[in-house]
Subunit: 349 residues, 4 copies
């Protein structure tokens, strides 16, 4: 009963099988092989973007940092939500790669508030040459709070950015989960809104370790390639990276796994309705939720072998039975309905 992260589960057998099959014979290195070309094509198909630049890296940190370094100048601020993973959990990778600075924006439920974005851009512009110049906006969908920007939410943010000529990046560590939640296509969630770049995540959603950087401006391809190499992210035996993404982006596997994950989280949310005292925090929309539960419920779950984050980390040590403690629950493709049921049962006691 591990619900701590979508990083803890296994890769999908189809992905594993593709890697196994790629392990045959001799193949040119550094990404000029046919497995890589096919995987690129599959991602372009997912995005209905035949001209898009598509390159693969093995971590989300790298995907985001490389995409934004390609969009930002070293003297520009990158606008992101205060709780963005990009800000809180990358140990400075964004600054290392871009040379720039993150400018933090507030907003309810983990979503950038368009008015505050507009205000922060105005502040930058007011400072002239003395201040950081306005640069790209990066939006995480699904957000770190488990909420999902609607297409209208995204359109509003893109419109603020574009009014100032600023590019927009989508951190898609959970891109597929957002897409499923919105019932839209990958294209509708990105370039059709004016979004310039996407980190299309595979790792959290059933791969071993692969993310695609997708840039809709084909002119940016060479720069991305050079930045990737300079960052040490170009694989020599590239086929193993590509095979994962090829399997993932083909035949709708990416969508199918996210559908499964979202369904399991929905089961969690439905199930907590009848737990006395339980509260659903923010407005979860995909495969991740923050919940408040009585300490007694958490203790029963832990005793039953459940593992997930409770806030604060040592909160259970001293809490009273009825004290509400927040936790984060994440489901990936591999969760079964039975496992969720067991978790709910433990909580209910």
């Amino acid at each position: 009963m591990i619900f701590a992260s979508d990083n803890t589960g296994p890769a999908h057998p189809t992905v594993m099988q593709a890697v196994w099959e790629a392990n045959t014979g001799y193949v040119p290195s550094y990404g000029v092989d046919t497995i890589t070309e096919a995987a690129r094509a599959a991602v372009r198909d997912v995005f209905e973007a035949p001209e898009a630049v598509v390159e693969f890296v093995s971590t989300g940190t790298a995907a985001n940092a490389l995409a934004l370094a390609t969009l930002a100048k070293p003297w520009e601020g990158i606008f992101c939500h205060r709780t963005a993973h990009f800000e809180t959990d990358e140990c400075g990778a964004p600054e290392f790669y871009s040379g720039g600075k993150l400018v933090l924006i507030d907003g309810a439920n983990g979503k950038i508030d368009p008015a505050l974005l507009e205000a922060e851009i105005a502040t930058c512009l007011d400072r002239g040459v003395d201040g950081i110049q306005p640069g790209p906006v990066t939006i995480t969908n699904v957000t770190e709070k488990g909420t999902v920007y609607s297409l209208e939410d995204l359109r509003r943010l893109v419109s603020v950015a574009k009014a100032h000529g600023l590019p927009v990046h989508l951190d898609g560590a959970r891109f597929a989960n957002a897409c499923v939640a919105l019932g839209c296509s990958a294209a509708e969630m990105t370039w059709k809104l004016g979004i310039d770049a996407v980190s299309f995540g595979g790792t959290k959603n059933g791969c071993m370790a692969v993310e695609a950087v997708v840039l809709f401006d084909p002119e940016k391809g060479k720069e991305l390639e050079l930045r990737r190499k300079r960052g040490g992210h170009l694989f020599s035996k590239h086929r193993y990276l590509s095979a994962q993404m090829g399997a993932y982006a083909t035949g709708g596997l990416w969508h199918e796994m996210a559908t499964a994950a979202n369904a399991r989280l929905a089961q969690v949310l439905a199930g907590v309705q009848d737990i006395p005292g339980a509260e659903i925090c923010f407005e979860p929309g995909a495969n991740l939720a923050f919940l408040k539960l009585p300490a007694s419920a958490h203790r029963r779950a832990k005793a039953a072998g459940a593992y997930y984050y409770v806030y604060p980390g040592d909160g259970l040590d001293t809490a009273q039975e009825d004290d509400l403690l927040m936790c984060r629950i994440v489901c990936d493709w591999s969760k079964s309905a039975d496992e969720v049921a067991a978790l709910l049962a433990a909580w209910r006691g």
Copy 2:
């Protein structure tokens, strides 16, 4: 008949099997899992260095750049051979990670000449604050020319570095092949000589994509971890990276594969002795060699399906039949004696 690089061949079935087996159930992310701990222990065993810092990354570029960033200050020069991969083929990754500068040293057969290293250090010291300060020395063994530094060669270089208090790093993209060639242990080739850091390569020698950064000073561990994260090289589903290295470093598989690769290269070298006009360049000692062969021999091999690099790249377009053209031949663990025999037969005509 692909002899272009040890990056073009498949991973060893034992490595693949370990990855497959790692794909079971739920495992903590970011490298705090038991598969990772076991792999670290296996590498420490290989080096007989129970205190060593061992971290895994997926590319040799990253391994080298991170190791040297940990050893160098931004205002220091990193001494390397003029033909080092670190200088010629990393698109500036060393400078990006370290902030420093490469100082190029000459030397026959791809080996740094100790006297020239000494002289270049002296030049740096003469310049005082105006110049780059002397920093770490990085040595590639097997060299990019296919030669192997003897233990005495290494000892001399280490001694020059240490006389000035400079740390020494070993670029071990083909570490195992050098070790086999020298008939020494991993410890004898490294810390027993005073070497401070090693990039212990797995990718070229039968893995999919894994290199171990090994630092013999345990104090450096935290910095390496932080630099790795900041560079975007910390895997979330870390088990798949670790499983490869675990299989590789356990039971001598790393040594066994290098032994096989070196044997196949030896077969090539033995075989070219009786090809009229053929010359063996530099002094190949492991699994990689530069050879000169008549254009006619190259043409026969290409016609028979062989693929390898010829210098210059377009040399065969215009060469006369008897013109000698240099080529690079690399064998990995997967090459069969039959395949080598077929190559030799094609050359002989």
Copy 3:
């Protein structure tokens, strides 16, 4: 009637005279001359710190960025107030030089709140290797709001930092003005409290362009020198830089000029008491204040030739006569009592 900044006024004749006198004959370059040595000694005397590292640069941006790069690792956060010049007006110089990231702390009247600093350090520590590590704290005294940290204020902040082993830097663009306001010595305001590094500003307080970086740990000298050179901040004809600082730090000129500047600001503050509707914002303590005045008062002053910043910049275009608009008033050493009287008279109408 220019009260916009202490950057707009002239240099003191004694400083100019010293530069003129330095322009005699031949002098070794790059700071190994006797004028430089004497100026270093004068600064060490000011700080009663005979072992301190003292180096000169020509801008406050450089002084702060170099000092903090010497104190911070690239993966560390530098804690500063949200309104610190270091954050808002350096176009990313702190990040460029340190490689790190600024972590913004709130607090009333432009002063870092010790409890919020403590909380932010705790947040950093919680994140482990995924987040930016806690690094140095930089404190501006006089603050950007014109307030002055008391010695007790400083002691509390230093104590929070030191409890976590973090170094502390003082941005002293207006160091002298703070010292005069507190009636303490330079030593009492710095190393006696445990502060590790100071940017001792000369430019705003009567020099042309010189700031001293003072590091109380003599071990840091070589690194500072190398960073300065690498940043392009080592003057070749160094005597002209040093001569300014020599005159400034000798015979109490630095203190005398700040005393004059603070007195003029006090005259402003006293004078606004009887202007109907006028408000003094924050709690100005040195040579800089934010005031609220009716639009009519601002308009009279502007008509009389006064120049200073009004917020928002275009506020006067549309304000009603009685609308209160904030402005910033700064006095330097060169302001006369008559000029202040004229400003007050214009405001009063």
Copy 4:
């Protein structure tokens, strides 16, 4: 009798007078003042380039590093002569500012050999994405060996660069001396040949500390401004920097001082003809020369109070009387014919 460097002499009285006169009243800070505008206009007049971007900094290191950072991408190599000051004496400033790498080119007498430049560009292009990409070429005129590139020399180098679309920068620490030596205009030595950027040096040629970065593409102005601020090189009391350059670039003072300096070096060269054993090295053309003289001559000069560099630094300690030792002699605007005569007399004995 100090002939060690043109950094050791005084500033010209006209330059000092301009700084003194600038020290009057209140002036907007950060370079938006009329003194700065006039100085910019004067430099544009010198270059007959009314549209050129002109910004001032206080060191040659900064001028060169900022100009080249504006021309180069972080993944590009900057081509320069192996003996360029930019390579040997900047402690990594070029790499720090540009993020790139210096690619060293050989050539006799301190001049880049066009064929070797062409070859090195070809090598870069061959490596594809794995290697550093070709970037700008930087040429020092007067070279570090005291030689002067002819207009034809420059034209050949520019033509190699432009054939590959690469920008060209001129390191003009001794620009005026080269201009005088060639008898050409500033425009003829730069943009009329296709040169894109110049560091127009003032410090070595009679100023205290000022260099102008001149970019002939007006589109580059904003980037240069932002890079300058980010590097900490924007002066707040900017008038003092500008006043120097204004005086220097007006009325031909820059040309007049270089004419004087070159004449004094010519006097040195003429005078050594009749010193037995003396040799003139390289082919000095402006205000700097390397000479070989018997140890006895050096000893007499040192005894008479002369100061200049001898190679190796400790060469005189053990040399025999007749041993030839190389020295470097530099004249600035302030040298008198009598002082040169005294030096020659001491050498002759």
